[in-house]
Subunit: 480 residues, 2 copies
């Protein structure tokens, strides 16, 4: 299905591009996009200046160095908010504010595991975010191996009584990161599926593409009415090891200790800064990344990079002295990793004027270069998206799917409410080597790659904020 969709989308795009450069005059093209020629000139200049070097790397360097780990609901996340409001204030943004909400807090504790038979040896694990504890004494149980989630789902009820389930399916590196959604279901839902068969614990092969002793954490959820069992990820080399040990045919036992704890109702917040529009101050073009990050690392690629790219985009527009017609809103989201909670809180708080969010996109797929633009807008807005595509094409970004209801995770709640989709897809080939591991640190980022993203965001933001088109297709293109 995917390949058919892609092909037909590309075909349509090819026709559209042929039209742009052929029969349709430049004037007509801009007029259909609702954009004055000067706006295109401004966008081009903003884009080209960004390629000469931006401060994006400086922002991610500062956030990861001066704040470091910043798990949602912790002191670290609060320090990230202070960092953001201070930086935005220093940069002369007006209307810098936080929109607080509360979340159920969770913090990691000790995490240890070992094969106790037949070949005793330690394993490198990490608790999945939201897992219950084993208790300080830990658990020790025979392990039953499944090659994937489907096999676990097929296991008869009661067949795992008193056992630890291990599921070994492996995602692969892809440019668009699309394996994550499919294979990630194991992390998100595996514990309750295993528990429904009687398991007392779940171990999964990390949802990640590296081969280092770096287990990947990430959020999970328990289903109602099923016992909550502790769940952890093994690093890929450790998953290989447990499978090799199993291949000897002798029974395997694993001991596992996880002592995470729930910390009650704790504060989080979104940080917001506006560049107020001159003509339509109550219409918003939203960009942003998320401030929170998993506790195992300093969150350089997830999502310090997105914070840096979008903060720098807004800063460059502010510093240019150019005045947008509608308001450009930078949202640095809170509590993304633990369930898109900043996104839901924002939607709830802004329910009355959701449709005034004309266009929105988030940067939350690492620090790699953007290579594709996907969207889901109505016919009226299509010429504007095509114009954006034309202006980012020299950055190495080509049009992709035109039926993609995706604008980044924190915008998912608004997409659900009917918001049109728009997204620059970054190269994710290496993203899941680092994602949610201790290895998500600044040394993995190239400044010039961030600059390319800033250039693309400047084009999107400036055109969206200055076009006559103020409805990209709310509800008419509502998500499935």
């Amino acid at each position: 299905m995917t390949s058919i969709k892609t092909t037909s989308s590309l075909f349509i795009v090819a026709l559209a591009m042929a039209g742009l450069t052929g029969a349709v005059s430049a004037d007509e093209r801009l007029s259909k996009a609702g954009v004055e020629p000067v706006v295109v000139e401004q966008a081009t200049l903003l884009r080209d200046n960004a390629l000469k070097g931006t401060r994006a790397y400086q922002w991610v360097e500062s956030l990861t160095t001066e704040v470091g780990p910043r798990l949602a609901g912790t002191e670290g996340e609060a320090r990230a908010r202070d960092w953001a409001t201070t930086k935005l204030g220093d940069l002369s943004f007006k209307h810098v504010r936080t929109e607080p909400f509360t979340i159920e807090g969770w913090e990691r504790g000790e995490e240890r595991a070992a094969v106790t038979q037949p070949f005793p040896q330690p394993l490198s694990i990490t608790a999945l975010g939201g897992s219950v504890a084993t208790g300080a004494q830990g658990i020790e149980a025979p392990v039953v191996l499944f090659e994937n989630l489907t096999a676990l789902e097929r296991a008869p009820a009661g067949s795992l009584d008193g056992k630890i389930a291990y599921v070994g399916h492996a995602m692969r590196a892809t440019q668009d990161g699309s394996h994550y959604g499919y294979f990630g279901r194991l992390r998100r839902q595996g514990a309750s599926i295993a528990a429904s068969k009687g398991a007392v614990g779940l171990l999964i092969r990390s949802i990640g593409t590296d081969s280092h002793r770096m287990p990947h954490t990430g959020s999970m959820r328990y289903a109602d009415d099923i016992p909550r069992i502790p769940a952890a990820a093994l690093s890929n080399p450790d998953a290989d090891q447990i499978e090799r040990i199993a291949s000897r045919g002798e029974p395997i036992k694993v001991a596992m200790t996880l002592t995470p704890r729930f910390t009650g109702e704790v504060p989080s917040a979104n940080v917001i800064a506006d560049i107020v529009g001159t003509e339509f101050p109550d219409e918003y073009v939203v960009i942003g990344g998320h401030l929170d990050a998993w506790d195992l690392a300093t969150g350089a690629i997830d999502d310090g990079a997105g914070v840096a790219i979008t903060l720098e985009t807004a800063r460059r527009i502010l510093a240019s002295g150019l005045k947008p017609r509608r308001t450009i809103r930078l949202i640095l989201w809170g509590a993304e990793e633990v369930g898109l909670l900043g996104g839901y809180a924002y939607r709830e708080r802004h329910q009355a004027n959701l449709r005034q969010h004309v266009a929105a996109t988030e940067s939350d797929f690492g620090a790699g270069r953007a290579w594709q633009l996907t969207s889901r807008v109505d016919d009226q807005a299509r010429p504007l998206v095509d114009l954006i595509a034309e202006l980012v094409e020299p950055l190495g970004i080509a049009p992709g799917a035109t039926d993609a209801a995706n604008a980044g995770p924190d915008l998912y709640p608004m997409i659900q409410a009917g918001m049109p989709g728009f997204r620059f897809v970054q190269n994710g080939q290496d993203y899941f080597d680092l994602h949610h591991t201790p290895d998500d640190t600044l040394d993995k980022i190239e400044a010039a790659d961030l600059d390319q993203n800033v250039a693309a965001f400047l084009v999107f933001t400036w055109l969206a904020a200055n076009s006559d088109i103020n409805d990209w297709g709310w509800q008419s293109v509502a998500a499935d």
Copy 2:
């Protein structure tokens, strides 16, 4: 100096090779090497068959899976000896035996560190092998940064009173791994140098070339009459981080807890198997790798690979039915990592007949392909070494230094006693990415690379065991 030496050595080698293929007849060449033509045919066949695929990968897979971590003096190392004696027995080696000795035991405990000011955040560290503990409460102290060991050495006495010294010099990846010796002095001696200035703890940038959150352990020694202070390595990204934090100009404090303990006198041993020579049973050609490995990983490249390469070399000779003139001795060394203790124990036990160890070499530089042959032998043995060089040249191995008193770490004690040097140098470009880290696991090894090493070892072993030359230059080429 190094480059001049290399150039002149290569020049001499080029002359020698020109001689071999030119004026000197094939017969004369073999007769100078003390080798019958059939022996060359046998070595060539052994070599070429190995390239079709060996069991070397199978041995390292088995050792790393069924034994796993095997720190010197621990139950893990004892299980490695059991593994080796069982495997060697199953393969019908005769005279399989262990030669026990005792060592001062040391085991890792908890290891945690964090920046406590100005930007609180955890650090990824590991204790250096042989470090004293901080006590369970840990220590917290201001940190003073030095860019290298020389700068630390220049610090005035008393200038580090009550402080933790951090030294940040970084080794680089090289094909021959030669940075390790130079930069490694920080790990081996840094604690006592820091303590002599009053420091209460030492943190070093890992002696390693990766950029993962993987601190590198490795052995250290305390000088006499200087207080023993706890010492640990930071992963390279954490070392970058502490240097970035320092660049802000505010005082840094670090809290560090290390609870390793000394476990008293504990057993280790070398495992030995002989293929007894038909003519000269009391003359030995020695090959081997070391059985012990650091506790953080399963020791696949250090030195499961060397165990596998040399065990497979001996196995293939045994299985071929060929009978060597002198004895081929496989030594799987114990307690290498903690001070070459297996090597010293062997030298002491075999003091009476050291000179009957005609030629010896070890595989202990990972699982990469060999690319160079270095040696230090006298004029009488040079034609034999040249013949070995000629036969391994099709494997991509070229002659290197002819003044290299190096046969691998466990043979260093015998080299010190006057043994000639011979070594296949493996490609070490990636070796220090993994060396002494949790990441030294099987997934980093390619079977075909091991096979190439086996092929080279077969040539060395078979020619050395069957040549008339029984003195490669003992004492006349004694190490400096």
